[in-house]
Amino acid sequence: MSAITLIEAVNKAMAYEMENDQTVVALGEDVGANGGVFRATDGLQKKFGPDRVIDTPLAESMIAGVSIGMAAQGIKPVAEIQFMGFIFPAFDQIVCHMARMRHRTRGRITLPMVIRAPYGGGIHAPEHHSESTEALFAHIPGLKVVIPSNPSRAYGLMLAAIRDPDPVIFLEPKRVYRIVKHEVEDNGEEYPIGCCFVDREGTDITLISWGAMLHETHQAAEKLAAEGISAEVIDVATVSPLDIDTILESVEKTGRAMIVQEAPKAGSLGSEIAAEIAEKAVMSLLAPIGRVSGYDTVMPYYRLEKQYMPTVDRVLEEARKIMEYK
């Protein structure tokens, strides 16, 4: 067992499954000799050769479309889109084909494949390198959208994503690629897709988050504890299909719910979670549902990035407001 970062966990999970299953291939821009711009595929081409770790020309729609063709023929592609901001040329292939092939052919053609992309803000990157557009994908029936928040989850969920019989969009919160290390045993054990994880148990308020924002959420929960407020923290992990039952169960227990997300507020995953709570657990609520999110603005360039990103203070402020509600 060794302490590894989130990006190393992604790498280790891919290596494990490529060793274990000869049909798994990695492809994308710069994934070969360079090992990916964030080093997610570091060393994989050396180990598995250029037939299984494939450098592609610079064309995102091609990466998705070719992966679809390969998956239909029994190859399991793990395709990298270098940054989520560049996934849009592939959006057509993802939405119109990847999500639909099983349904369209009545199960005749299925697409076990993964599209990975680093996403989210906080690394002082140029334009289009920092957005959180997970809701665009979570809205599409037929897709699974997974977002790990830490190294253990990244390892287990990546394995599950590769083994999943359906296509998975795997979004990696790049701000936390290297900020924490976890002891992760490289034993091929997966985490289930389609489950929320209760990271911290509490009785007064449920804090619901995913990806990088879990880190601010956990810090806030710690501070709230010092103030005598017991916060339960849920890592959504699979944003589609959403495990709403775990969230509802928690909210019914605590009576208070708050969502923390980096993405803009309107029409977001937070909106969906809030609506589900309002529909199904409103009678348990002791206070209105709270949301801390990015603003409904274009993601700013990095000089204003800090002003955009939800902070521990913003989470605390909203949590206290909810707690004080009468």
Partner: protein
Amino acid sequence: MTTVAKFDIKYTQYIDQDGKPTSKKLPKLAKDIDTLKTLYRSMLRIRTLDTKAYALQRTGKMGTYPAALGQEAIGVGFGSALNKEDVLVPYYRGQAAMVEHGVTMEEVLLYWGGDERGSDYQHAKEDFPIAVPIATQCLHAAGVAKAMQLKGEKRCVATEIGEGGTSEGDFYEAINVAGIWKLPVVFFINNNQWAISVPSEIQTACETYAQKAIAAGIEAVQVDGNDIVAVREAAEKAYEKARKGGGATLIECISLRLCDHTTADDASRYRPEGELDEGWKAEPILRLRKYLESMGEWDDEQEEALKAELAKEVQEAVDNYLNTAPDKPEAMFDYLYSELPARTMEQRQYAIDKANNKGAK
């Protein structure tokens, strides 16, 4: 200044519109009367199907349908040249190639009749369903070819696209990667002169569509798409090259759409006067008939017998289609994922109850 690269595009035609050979060096196929008769039958069958589908749409028994009148030689030509184990990745007007490769006419009708079961091919198990977003299928074809290459198989992939579709990014991305990776895939451009209402001068500044292959580093071929001998010959050569590891080919087949874009279109709004009259003189079925007649291999009696036989065959497919009841409402849910998510199960039950009119108080 020095010339660092030079290219040319060759055009092939073996039989002209009067059914006369245009070359003394004809391929074997031009003398293979049995095969020519089979191809003739296939072309006439697709025309019969298209004509019937049009009538079904006009009488409210079919949704929007894209007939391919005048382009039968393209799909029948390259579809019939595929081996069973090869894979076809069709485009939306691809019924000729699809049926040649084992998709049933009933499945074609079911698909355009608004039923997903039309893409659950019972025979062409590995063939792709129709991709409606233009040019997207080219990338699937490249991916299927990549998988064959990785698995070391001696199979190939054929895909079709309209000439308008070659303006799309996915087309360029597909031929580009097919060139780099030397993929066993053959791209057929069905150049029927019209992308709905848009003619070639608005679609491209190129002299030919075939030459787009040059920028991708793959072989460019142009044939008379109304000459099934030329289409099939070019397809056979390209497939053989692909299966042997020689890489991809782009084949432009020049034809003319002798019908509206779909049943929802009215080509009289944009088609120049006289084009159809000329087009019907050059169409592929008449041409092959003239060729066969000139050799004493076809006559009116055979023509009438074949037409009657095909009418019966197509009618059977139509009856099967019309007698297929719509799928159950839960079919909306049952193929989305390998396992339906818990929260969607609720909606599934609701849809079933609503359809059964339960709880409708």
